[in-house]
C-alpha cells in the first residue's frame, strides 16, 4: 500500500513538472522571435528608413515611409467602414438578447470571424477590384473592414451587456426617449469597452498581409489616393523577405520591428484601457 502511495505521489510530481516544462518551452519561440526582431530590427531603423521611399536594389538609403503611410491609410479606411456598423450592430445584439433574428446575426458574425483572411481578399477582389479594374487601397480597406467587424461587434455587445439595467431604467423613468438613453447615457458608460474593441480590431488588421495581396497590392511609391494601389508594412515585409537581396532582408527586419511595436503596443494599451 505504501509503495502504491509513493508511486502516486511521484507520478503527481512528474506530471506537474512536465506541465511546467511544456509551458516553459511554449514561451521559447516568443522569446526567440522578439529577440531576433529586436536585434535585427533596431539596427535597420534610422531617419532614412522611416522617411524615405523604397530604393531600387543596390541603392542605399531605402525606406519604408510609403508602407507606414499605407498601413495607416488602410486602417483608417477599414475603421471608417467597420466602426459605425460594428457599434450599431453590437448595440442591436445587446438590446435584443432573445429575438431569433438577433441570434441569426450573432451566428453570422461568428461565421465571418472564422473565414480565412485570404478568402476575404478574394471577396474584396471580386467586389471592388474587378468593377474598378484596379487594385486600390479601398479594396484593401474593404477586406480589412470585414475582418474588423466581428471584433468590434463582439466587444461592443459584451461591454453593453455588463452595464446594469437600472441605468437604462433611471434614464427612461426621467422621460428620456429610448434612443437618447442609448446614445447619451448607455454608450458613454460603455465607451472604454467599445474603444478597447476598436483598438483590438486595429491590432488585428494592421498586421494582415494575405487579404492585401490582391487588393491593395503594394506600391513602390507614395500614394495617398484611395483608388490606387498602396503599400503597407506587412506587404513590404513579405515582398522583401522572399526576395534574394540582403539589403532588403535587413529592411524587412526593420519593418517587422515597426510592425511588432505597433501591434503589440496596441494590445498593451488595450489592457490599460480595459483596466479603467
Amino acid at each position: 500500500m505504501k509503495e502504491r502511495t509513493y508511486y502516486r505521489i511521484a507520478r503527481d510530481k512528474i506530471f506537474i513538472s512536465t506541465v511546467v516544462l511544456l509551458c516553459a518551452i511554449s514561451i521559447v519561440p516568443l522569446l526567440l522571435i522578439l529577440y531576433y526582431i529586436a536585434i535585427n530590427g533596431i539596427s535597420a531603423i534610422n531617419w532614412e528608413f522611416l522617411f524615405n521611399l523604397p530604393a531600387p536594389v543596390g541603392e542605399e538609403g531605402g525606406g519604408v515611409s510609403n508602407a507606414i503611410i499605407g498601413t495607416l491609410m488602410l486602417v483608417v479606411i477599414a475603421s471608417i467602414m467597420a466602426v459605425p456598423i460594428g457599434i450599431l450592430t453590437g448595440i442591436y445584439l445587446s438590446e435584443n438578447k432573445d429575438s431569433r433574428f438577433a441570434g441569426m446575426i450573432r451566428s453570422t458574425v461568428e461565421v465571418i470571424m472564422g473565414v480565412p483572411s485570404i478568402i476575404l481578399g478574394i471577396i474584396a477582389y471580386a467586389w471592388v477590384v474587378l468593377p474598378m479594374r484596379q487594385f486600390s487601397a479601398l479594396a484593401g480597406g474593404v477586406a480589412l473592414a470585414i475582418m474588423m467587424l466581428p471584433v468590434i461587434i463582439r466587444s461592443t455587445e459584451e461591454t453593453l451587456n455588463l452595464i446594469p439595467n437600472e441605468l437604462k431604467e433611471a434614464s427612461l423613468a426621467l422621460g428620456v426617449p429610448y434612443y437618447r438613453t442609448m446614445i447619451k447615457v448607455i454608450l458613454p458608460v460603455g465607451l472604454s469597452g467599445i474603444i478597447t474593441g476598436i483598438l483590438l480590431g486595429v491590432a488585428r488588421i494592421a498586421g494582415e498581409t494575405a487579404p492585401l495581396l490582391f487588393t491593395a497590392f503594394g506600391n513602390q511609391f507614395m500614394n495617398l489616393n484611395i483608388f490606387k494601389p498602396v503599400n503597407s508594412l506587412p506587404l513590404m515585409i513579405y515582398y522583401y523577405a522572399t526576395s534574394p537581396y540582403e539589403q532588403w532582408h535587413v529592411d524587412a527586419w526593420g519593418a517587422s520591428f515597426l510592425l511588432a511595436i505597433f501591434v503589440l503596443g496596441l494590445n498593451f494599451i488595450t489592457k490599460l484601457v480595459a483596466r479603467r
Binding site: 502516486r8 505521489i9 506530471f15 506537474i16 506541465v19 511546467v20 511544456l22 509551458c23 518551452i25 511554449s26 519561440p29 516568443l30 526567440l32 522571435i33 531576433y36 526582431i37 459605425p84 456598423i85 450599431l88 450592430t89 448595440i91 442591436y92 446575426i105 453570422t108 458574425v109 461568428e110 461565421v111 465571418i112 472564422g114 473565414v115 480565412p116 483572411s117 485570404i118 478568402i119 481578399g121 478574394i122 477582389y125 470585414i146 467587424l149 426617449p177 429610448y178 434612443y179 442609448m182 491590432a203 494592421a206 498586421g207 494582415e208 498581409t209 494575405a210 495581396l213 515585409i237 513579405y238 523577405a241 522572399t242 527586419w253 517587422s256 510592425l259 501591434v263 503589440l264 494590445n267
Partner: protein, 331 residues
C-alpha cells in the same frame, strides 16, 4: 390637459425612435448581406472551373497552366497534413498551458506572465512568424534533415507544421483554460477529501468534465490552422505536387532474411520522413502565390474554386466546434 404641442412632441419622439430602431436593424442586416455575399461570390467566380472539371477537381493532381488542367488534391492534402500535424504537436503544449493557468496557477505573478506571453504569441502577425521562420527555423530544420539523411530543403510540410503549431497554441490554450477553470470546486474537493493527488483529480475529475470544451478548443484551433496563409506560404516550399511518401522496395527482398526486413523498415522510415519533410503547397498558399499571376480565366477560376473548397472546409470545422461548445453550454 394634453395640448397640441405635447401631441406634436409625442409623434416626433415616435419618429425618432423608429429611425433609431431602423438604423440598428439595417446595420445588422449588412452583416447578413456580407455573409450571403461571400456564399454567392465564391461559386460565382469559380463557375468556369466548376463547369470544366466538376467533381474531379478535388481528386485530380494536375496543376498545369499550359495544359489548362487544374486539380486541387495536392493542396488539399498539403493543407490537411500541415494542419493535422500542427494540431497533434500543439495538443500537449496547449493542454499544459490550459492546466497551468486554469488549475495550478490561476492567480499571481507567474500566471500573469504566462497569460501575457500567450496573448503576445496570439498577437504576432502571421507575416512575422513566416519571416522569422525563414531565417531562424529553416536552417535548424535543414540541419535536422541532414542528420536524418534526407534532402535538406529546409522548407516543407514539417517546417510549416512547426510554425503552425506555435501559432495555434494560444487558441486552444485559452479555450481550454476557461473550461478547466469553470469546473465546479465541489467535485474537486470531493475527490481531494478522498485522498486523491492533484494529478488524479485532474485526470479523473477535471478533464472528463472539461473534455468537450477542450475538444471544441482543439477543433477551433484546427479551423485557424486550415486558413493560415502567410507563415505557411513562406515556409512550405511552393511545389505543386503531392508529398512523396513512396517507399522503395529493397532489392532482392526475401521473406526469410532478417536484413531484408531491416532494410524494408529503413525504407519505410525514409519514405515517411521524405513525405513529411517534402516541399508542398496548401490551398491558402497556392492562392497567395498564383492569384495575381494567372494567365487564363480558367486558371483564375480554379484558384477561386480552391478558395471555395477552403472556405467550406473551415466553415464545417468551425460549425462543429461551435456546436460542441453549445451542446456543453459551459460557456
Amino acid at each position: 390637459m394634453t395640448n397640441k404641442k405635447d401631441e406634436k412632441k409625442g409623434s416626433r419622439y415616435e419618429r425618432n425612435e423608429s429611425i433609431f430602431q431602423w438604423i440598428l436593424i439595417v446595420s445588422s442586416i449588412i452583416l447578413l448581406l456580407i455573409l450571403i455575399g461571400i456564399f454567392v461570390t465564391l461559386p460565382l467566380n469559380s463557375m468556369d472551373s466548376i463547369k470544366e472539371f466538376g467533381l474531379r477537381f478535388v481528386i485530380s493532381t494536375d496543376w498545369s497552366p499550359q495544359k489548362e488542367l487544374f486539380g486541387a488534391l495536392p493542396f488539399i492534402v498539403g493543407t490537411l497534413l500541415t494542419s493535422f500535424i500542427a494540431l497533434l504537436f500543439s495538443i500537449p503544449f496547449a493542454l499544459s498551458i490550459a492546466l497551468f493557468l486554469g488549475e495550478y496557477f490561476t492567480h499571481g505573478i507567474i500566471s500573469t506572465i504566462l497569460k501575457s506571453a500567450v496573448e503576445l504569441l496570439a498577437g504576432i502577425p502571421s507575416i512575422i512568424y513566416g519571416f522569422w521562420g525563414i531565417f531562424v527555423l529553416v536552417p535548424v530544420i535543414r540541419m535536422l534533415q541532414i542528420k536524418l539523411g534526407i534532402a535538406p530543403y529546409g522548407v516543407g510540410i514539417f517546417t510549416s507544421a512547426v510554425i503552425l503549431t506555435i501559432m495555434i497554441i494560444p487558441y486552444s490554450a485559452s479555450i481550454g483554460r476557461e473550461v478547466i477553470q469553470l469546473v465546479p470546486n465541489d467535485y474537486k474537493e470531493a475527490a481531494y477529501s478522498m485522498g486523491a493527488t492533484r494529478f488524479e483529480v485532474i485526470r479523473q475529475v477535471i478533464l472528463p468534465i472539461a473534455r468537450s470544451g477542450v475538444l471544441a478548443g482543439i477543433i477551433l484551433s484546427l479551423g485557424r490552422a486550415l486558413g493560415e496563409t502567410m507563415a505557411v506560404t513562406m515556409l512550405i516550399g511552393n511545389v505543386n505536387k503531392l508529398p512523396d511518401f513512396s517507399v522503395a522496395v529493397p532489392e532482392g527482398f526475401s521473406l526469410f532474411s532478417f536484413n531484408s526486413y531491416v532494410t524494408l523498415f529503413d525504407n519505410i522510415l525514409k519514405g515517411f520522413l521524405d513525405g513529411v519533410f517534402s516541399p508542398s503547397n496548401t490551398m491558402a498558399s497556392i492562392i497567395a502565390n498564383e492569384f495575381t499571376e494567372t494567365t487564363t480565366d480558367l486558371q483564375l477560376s480554379s484558384i477561386v474554386e480552391i478558395g471555395l473548397v477552403l472556405f467550406i472546409m473551415t466553415l464545417i470545422i468551425n460549425l462543429i466546434g461551435r456546436y460542441i461548445i453549445k451542446k456543453t453550454s459551459v460557456m
